[in-house]
Symmetry: C2
Subunit: 458 residues, 2 copies
């Protein structure tokens, strides 16, 4: 009996998800046509609601935390999750500041990126517009909800939010604040929806006729699962295997400083470096300088080296080096471990990166402009850095205000995805009754194809 | 024995395809770094070879045609294919002119679309770059090969060409002209490859670690098959279900003229209109004017109408109207057939289009600017036209020089895809040893995030 009832509950829950998606799709078309000021007003209202309901939010979060702590004690939940789950006054204030920053950004919609007269009275424009309905699947962090929702509403997109079940109570209050803010500003509240069951993920991934983009925010496993199980375009990355190449003409002191930052400043981040490639001309002095710096600052990095690097190192070297295995070149450690390989040339470094990398972010340390130019042209990753830490690959640091994720795909949007990455474009053609038949045959009219400088006419 | 031998041949052929793809991937990284002038020189060389080898090309094409004619007689090939397969002097001249036009276009690479100082000495740039390696799967038209290859080389992309088997001999000569032109200009010739077997398609679709984009050019069935059988992004469209909405405030004469153009000027094209939506206030006068125009010009369009439109039509109406079925709203006729529906409001028309459309191109006929603005904002298609025929949705007519296809996806590239659609971007970060650790904690440096006007510094 219990199974039947569960099945029925699941079926009913899935039906509710489908209905939410259908309503979301319809509402997103309405949302797309609303002016910037109205979308911003909804965000400002939401921020006010979040501030006014601080105690309710914190109470809900304490409920989630109490439940999670119980599960941690029972051993069914990892302790590290508690920190991510917690939403206190200070974090809530950051959330509200973040929403305000989003309102202050320029409208990403209705930007004209191409204006061309095709013929007298016939004009072509390329105009930015929302993508449509976005499904965001995220894990325990409840502060992800307001960040994602404000980016989506600002860019005129509907959003279906699938939050982590651990943050269920907190997410509900946060979500209510946005719905209330939208209602007050006259936005269609169905343009956002919160779905909660694990089964909802499958329903969302199957809804390729209604959902235009899926954004997974979570573990590599979650992202890989989603990429393998939907026909909807997926924005994100399963892996961040970032490289740093220390060129023949590198400033060794700089290379050591950047390597330590890129590996240790926050090793769990996707933009941390995983593989160090050393030009054979600098491999030994670099390793010696790295060892000295790690010792003097009392830091430790586990170094997995290829045979060639091992062979370069003299006896009595102060660090323990372990041999790297083939799989290390494609491993994202997420901790203070670095694989190290010595290469003959810049070209070998590029080949290694394009073979083993995940197209996220790669850096070269060199004083040779030509080496950087070659590296930049030939490495096909979303970020290619010169004399800077890979850790800068981030929407906030790029000045995008916030990001919904980092895309390692080859097509747009690529890299950290902020408001500009959440819009696409339509071609607008304005005629006065123009027909194609006039442009074919022996007496065909010719297209003028003159770019229009003054956009105001459109 | 024959089966074993065939299997072995297939295995060897597939192995050859994989090798071509691997070489193509490596060569495309080299190609990406070559200057515009060198890429253009290869195209000019190829055009010269095509001109010089005209008789060889036409002879090869005659061989293909003879074989195809045999198959048409045997009933294993459709007669209409012969016209598409034929490549005569005049068509070859058009091909050569097309390549020259591509060389005359601006370099789509290395364009800087964002320049920002992040902090003193630390700068961010967004720079256009090739997508990487593109697989193009096309059917009988041999003139597709030079068009696609020149767009790909101009945009720095490698390309694996899978041509139709009917055009095998012609394709080989055309391909050789490009290889020779590339060789002479110092381009890596492996950046283009021609594969011929039907089995190669599956090998290409499985190569998601090497191929960055698949472009199918052919029947709806081919495109649907490819979309369903690869994890590589697919650029294109399976269906072109375009709509025309005749608004309450439409100029009826203009609406009739555009409808006839959009339906009959070239009914097999994807940008031809399939469904006509009529505001109830103009439905009857529009239908009367359409009937009069079709009669006076001796043209015929088969009209499949919803009940409401049928009910509006008085006795003695000069055209035969047939009842539309539900599936007609999502059918691409490809011939002089049009489904017709009467709606109450602009809003109903938009809901119909967003429900049944294929996000290709839709037009509204109206003298009401506000109605167009609402239509433009709410219809989520790659092209949204005002008082112009949907048949203008085309790379050449948009002034893109040529196109590899029309994308009905929601993300970039969208609509007719020319050179700009064949590039993506990378973020370039240039520092002087900048590390993230300096930007966190109590004494964190602040980012300046000042947009840079002078791009020359990069």
């Amino acid at each position: 009996m219990s199974t039947t009832s569960d099945t029925m509950d699941t079926a009913a829950a899935n039906e509710a998800v489908i209905r939410a998606v259908e309503k979301g799709k319809a509402a997103s078309a309405t949302l797309a046509a609303l002016p910037h000021e109205q979308r911003n007003r909804a965000l400002r209202n939401a921020a006010e609601h979040l501030a006014a309901r601080e105690s309710a939010i914190i109470e809900a979060n304490e409920g989630d935390l109490a439940q999670a702590e119980k599960q941690v004690k029972e051993g069914t939940l990892n302790h590290s999750l508690l920190h991510r789950l917690k939403l206190n006054s200070s974090k809530l204030r950051d959330v509200i500041v973040g929403i305000t920053q989003v309102t202050e950004q320029q409208d990403p919609l209705s930007r004209v990126t191409l204006s061309r007269e095709l013929d007298e009275g016939l004009a072509l424009y390329r105009v930015s517009c929302p993508i449509g309905l976005i499904a965001v699947i995220f894990e325990s962090r409840p502060d992800a909800l307001p960040q994602i929702t404000s980016l989506c509403l600002k860019s005129g997109n509907g959003v279906i939010l699938k939050g982590g079940s651990e943050a269920r109570l907190t997410n509900r209050v946060l979500f209510d604040c946005f719905r209330a803010g939208m209602h007050k500003a006259g936005l269609p509240t169905d343009a956002i929806a919160l779905v909660e069951t694990r089964e909802a993920i499958k329903v969302l991934l199957d809804a390729d006729q209604l959902i235009d983009l899926v954004v997974p925010r979570g573990s590599n496993q979650l992202v890989s699962y989603i990429q393998a199980n939907t026909r909807i375009p997926v924005l994100g990355h399963a892996e961040g295997i970032c490289h740093m190449y220390v060129d023949r003409k590198a400033d060794i002191v700089m290379a050591v400083k950047i390597t330590i930052d890129a590996k240790t400043q926050y090793p769990a981040a996707c933009n941390s470096v995983e593989t160090l490639l050393l030009h054979e001309g600098v491999a030994l002095p670099f390793m010696q300088a790295l060892a000295a710096e790690l010792q003097s600052t009392n830091q430790a990095i586990r170094l997995l080296c290829d045979k060639r690097t091992m062979a370069l190192i003299p006896e009595g070297f102060p660090l323990i080096l372990e041999p790297a295995k083939e799989e290390d070149w494609s491993t994202e450690y997420g901790e203070e471990t670095l694989s190290v390989k010595t290469v003959d040339t810049l070209s070998d470094a590029i080949v290694h990166i394009n073979k083993y990398g995940s197209h996220h972010t790669e850096a070269i340390i060199t004083s040779d402009r030509g080496a950087f130019d070659t590296f930049f042209a030939q490495v096909n990753s979303a970020g290619v850095f010169w004399n800077a830490s890979t850790r800068f690959a981030d929407g906030f640091r790029y000045g995008f205000g916030a990001e919904v994720g980092i895309s390692t795909g080859k097509l747009h949007p690529r890299g950290p995805v902020g408001l500009e990455g959440l819009v696409t474009y339509k071609y607008k053609v304005v005629g006065k009754g123009h027909i194609v038949a006039d442009y074919v045959g022996d007496e065909a009219r010719k297209f003028t194809h003159v770019d229009i400088e003054d956009h105001s006419a459109q």
